[in-house]
């Protein structure tokens, strides 16, 4: 039997086509059927224009694209031996900005998408609070997210789609008052997380070793764990269990893991294939079914995102859960929430470290116009995983701009007889509802996937 379903509530839409045998999914295709063509649009534009275009690839992770563009352009300076000096202040503001965006994204994903869906699998009335739009938790989650993102708007000017970074630093010069305002917003977020999400103080949370530590608590995470165990999500959603993280920051380390060995990464081994993907201006072939391409490292598929980051950075709770439940829905979702909690904690500290007396921006001695022909590359950890930008300039005009988004790693089609990451995770599920939740555990964003 073959079924075709639409997956909504993912920022855009995806189509899920499944083959069933004995009430189990034996094959699945995830199709993304919306395409805008950013890489084509960026061609022939002045280099700095990219700073305004790429954040618009996605309404949820624009900061990540902005940072990736700024850093790719800075990498061009490095490539011609004129590295730019970026002050600590500018570095901090960039990282804080990106962190806040991830915090916002994680809160919304959990409260708007994951919990309403998984709560629907239970008849217990106490989970009604997670219902979309009407439920109290849904509303509190939305509210918390919109409050935390204000901490970003304070120094970025607006959200979504800010463009306050540029090669050489950032344009904004927050005052002491701005810094305090940001801290207040982060305190509110922390309070929400302790009260609603964990149901305990963050200091205690950092001592948790296993899911049993949530047993006596009343937060949303305890509800989530119960619902997961009831519905077998600690066994469902497993993929290759190989993980990649392309860049590092205060919380994340780069690397890749297959089975247990962490190894370093080399960006030149990343490539994108489009064997099963549609191509611009070419007639479609039978095997082509999606606008998403396939990202590979050394010709192999890898999962990217919070679970991969938690494992490579060795965060205790997730590491322990992973030993028991591997890359299941349970571990994957908990990894994202664990990351949220750490990010709020760390971002608060980073805000304190901003020294407003430093310069925000040091103008490059050379203009990109004087550089002429060069290539720059950058990797950034976005909410959904590693994001890669590669830009080639010719006579200071963009000749080629290549974007590989996290969703391309996780949600792109498989090639060479190998399934894609999410595709493999879905196979084996015994109901459509469960297949949806497995798919959602990757935090699907269709606009990013196809860009």
């Amino acid at each position: 039997m073959k079924t075709l379903n639409i997956v909504e509530r993912i920022e855009g839409e995806a189509k899920l086509v499944c083959n069933w045998e004995d009430e189990k999914i034996t094959d699945a295709q995830i199709q993304f059927l919306n395409f805008r063509g950013f890489e084509y649009i960026l061609k022939d534009k002045p280099a700095l224009d990219a700073l305004v275009y790429t954040p618009r690839i996605c309404g949820i992770c624009g900061q990540a694209h902005l940072k990736a563009t700024a850093q790719a352009l800075e990498n061009i300076y490095e490539s011609v031996n004129e590295p730019l000096y970026i002050t600590d202040k500018a570095k901090l503001l960039r990282e804080i900005g990106l962190n806040i965006e991830i915090i916002d994204s994680h809160i919304k994903w959990f409260y708007l998408f994951i919990m309403p869906d998984i709560a629907k699998l239970s008849k217990d009335e106490k989970y009604l609070k997670y219902e979309a739009i009407k439920g109290e938790s849904w509303r509190k989650g939305t509210y918390a997210a919109s409050e935390s993102i204000k901490a970003l708007a304070v120094f970025a000017g607006q959200w979504p789609h800010t463009s306050y970074m540029l090669p050489g630093g950032v344009m904004s010069d927050p005052t002491l008052f701005d810094i305090m305002t940001m801290q207040n917003y982060m305190d509110q977020t922390l309070h929400f997380i302790e009260k609603e999400l964990i149901g305990d103080e963050i200091e205690n949370y950092f001592n948790f070793n296993n899911i049993s530590d949530f047993d006596s608590l009343n937060g949303a995470l305890s509800d989530f764990i119960k619902l997961c165990l009831e519905n077998d999500f600690h066994n469902l959603g497993k993929s290759y269990n190989s993980h990649i993280v392309l860049s590092k920051n205060y919380l994340f380390e780069s690397g890749r893991i297959e089975i247990k060995n962490r190894q370093s990464v080399d960006l030149s081994l990343v490539k994108e294939e489009d064997i099963n993907s549609f191509k611009m201006n070419e007639p479609r072939r039978d095997n082509e079914y999606t606008w998403a391409k396939t990202a590979l490292y050394n010709d192999k598929p890898y999962e990217t995102g919070p679970l991969s980051r938690a494992l490579i950075s060795n965060r205790k709770l997730i590491k322990n859960m992973h030993k028991e439940y591997n890359d299941s829905v349970l571990t994957r979702v908990m990894a994202r929430m664990d990351e949220l909690i750490y990010l709020v904690f760390i971002t608060k500290k980073l805000i304190k470290q901003v020294d407003i007396s430093q310069d925000s921006f040091i103008p490059p001695k050379l203009s990109l116009k004087d550089i002429g022909t060069a290539t720059g590359i950058s990797a950034v950890e976005a909410a959904r995983g590693s994001l890669l930008h590669k830009v080639t300039l010719e006579n200071s005009i963009i000749k080629n701009y290549d974007v590989i988004t996290p969703s391309v790693w996780n949600l792109g089609p498989g090639i060479n007889e190998k399934y894609g990451i999410a595709q493999k995770a879905i196979i084996g599920a015994n109901s459509l509802e469960k297949a949806y939740i497995i798919l959602r555990s990757f935090d699907v964003c269709s606009v990013c996937t196809t860009h």
Binding site: N5, I6, V7, E8, R9, E11, G12, E13, K15, L33, N34, F35, R36, G37, F38, I41, D44, K45, P46, L48, L51, V52, Y53, R56, C58, G59, I60, K108, L112, P116, A132, I133, K134, R139, T142, Y143, S146, I149, K150, A153, V154, A156, G157, Q158, W159, P160, H161, S163, Y164, L166, G168, M171, S172, D173, S360, F361, I362, P363, L432, Y436
Partner: protein, 411 residues
């Protein structure tokens, strides 16, 4: 060189394209009566949702004073005199009488994201609890076939009554193959036509839906166009900007509830209450523009002192929008506020015309007001050259103000 600073002022603040904020007592009295009648008719209709605003306000702990503050802010945003405040408050309570269907086409979901964080009382209370949002792909509870069915039901049930919000452009190249939707795989174009057919009005939100936006930037690989290129014979409102300001979305809905009509629009179908004046007209850095104090380069002393961003590419003088007043994220801030300058995102083709950090003086831009801005550009260029040869900002400003001779004497 033009020798009067007043010239700059005149050109940049001329009334021609601006909204007339005072239409006279008669006009407002008439509108007031009309709105009162409209609201009482709406009140008689059964609510589509049994949640009401008063309850929401109470349960959310928003006190009456805060709510009234919001009401008077919104009344002002709509450019209505204070006498309309009680009606605006009432209209808010009647939001559950007007069904809204929101569809996403070739977009980045930025407007939906922006909407999630609208002005207080938070939009969760205002829009999602009270407004009858019959369909929103990302926010609604239903998914899959249920969602499909919900959309069909809404369109059928509220034939001729619903407001259709459209987010995203429509790719027309290659028979629309760059964007399809739903299980049947209808193209975005077909979907838009079908959904708009029975809508009371269509509201294009964001620059993609209004003018094709970023997908339509050169070379427009997917043949993207805006809603107004396709939907005809129907009240159509454009709320451009990237993202559109949620305050303006709420404003349009409230206006519709109040009057049953679309608000007064400019030639690009933008509501004048929001797009009747330029960013530049109300910019907090305007005094520096007038004084000839410009940021010459990001990170310089001018930047540290919040001087005008014109020379580092601010498009405020060309851009019609109210973000210098409303700001973003519940008024937290706006791009000019953090020293970035406006990129003109509510103007057609802004991607290609106004792209980043290209000072207008060199960009050969045709002004939305026609002709006039060319003078301004040349004038701007004059300023640029003058400073470049080292006369100094102060001298230029004084010269422009017609005090040249005095100044020379001082020196």
């Amino acid at each position: 060189m033009v020798d009067s600073q007043d010239m700059v002022k005149k050109v940049f603040t001329q009334k021609s394209a601006r909204i007339d904020t005072n239409k006279g007592e008669n006009y407002y009295n008439n509108l007031f009566e009309k709105a009162k009648q409209r609201l009482s008719t709406l009140k008689k209709q059964a609510p589509l949702k049994d949640i009401d605003m008063v309850d929401v306000i109470e349960t959310e702990g928003i006190n009456r004073r805060d709510f009234m503050k919001w009401v008077s802010g919104t009344t002002a945003t709509l450019m209505l005199p204070p006498m309309f405040e009680p009606l605006v408050a009432e209209a808010t309570e009647l939001m559950n009488r007007v069904p809204v269907v929101w569809i996403e086409l070739q977009d980045c979901a930025g407007n939906s994201e922006a909407l999630l964080r609208s002005a207080s009382p938070t939009v969760d209370d205002l829009l999602f609890d009270v407004l009858s949002l019959e369909f929103h792909e990302t926010l609604q509870a239903a998914a899959g076939h249920d969602a499909d069915r919900q959309l069909e039901d809404a369109v059928e049930h509220f034939k001729g009554q619903y407001l259709l919000f459209v987010e995203g452009a429509i790719p027309m190249a290659n028979n629309g193959m760059y964007g399809t939707i739903g299980a049947s795989g209808e193209t975005f174009h077909e979907h838009l036509m079908r959904m708009s057919k029975d809508a009371a009005a269509v509201i294009a939100v964001g620059t993609c839906a209004t003018f094709g936006g970023i997908p339509a930037a050169a070379p427009n690989p997917t043949g993207a166009v805006g809603v107004m290129d396709l939907v005809k014979g129907k009240p159509l409102i454009n709320i451009p900007a990237c993202p559109a300001n949620p305050a303006n979305m709420v404003g349009v809905i409230l206006h519709y509830i109040l009057t049953g009509q679309v608000p007064e629009l400019d030639s690009l179908l933008r509501p004048k209450f929001a797009f009747g004046y330029r960013i530049h007209d109300n910019c907090e850095r305007r005094a520096h523009f007038d004084a000839g104090e410009f940021v010459e380069e990001f990170g310089d002393d001018g930047a540290k002192n919040n001087w005008c961003l014109y020379k580092v590419g601010c498009k405020g003088p060309m851009t019609f929008n109210n973000c210098s007043i409303i700001r973003y994220n519940e008024g937290t801030n706006w791009p000019v506020g953090v020293g970035r300058g406006c990129i003109g995102c509510s103007e057609p083709d802004f991607w290609d015309k106004y792209a980043y950090q290209r000072p207008m003086a060199g960009a050969n831009i045709k002004a939305p007001t026609g002709g006039v801005e060319k003078t301004v550009d040349e004038f701007g260029l004059g300023l640029l050259t003058a400073t470049a040869v080292g006369i100094g900002v102060h001298a230029v400003a004084s010269a422009v103000a017609g005090k040249k001779s005095e100044h020379n004497e001082e020196e």
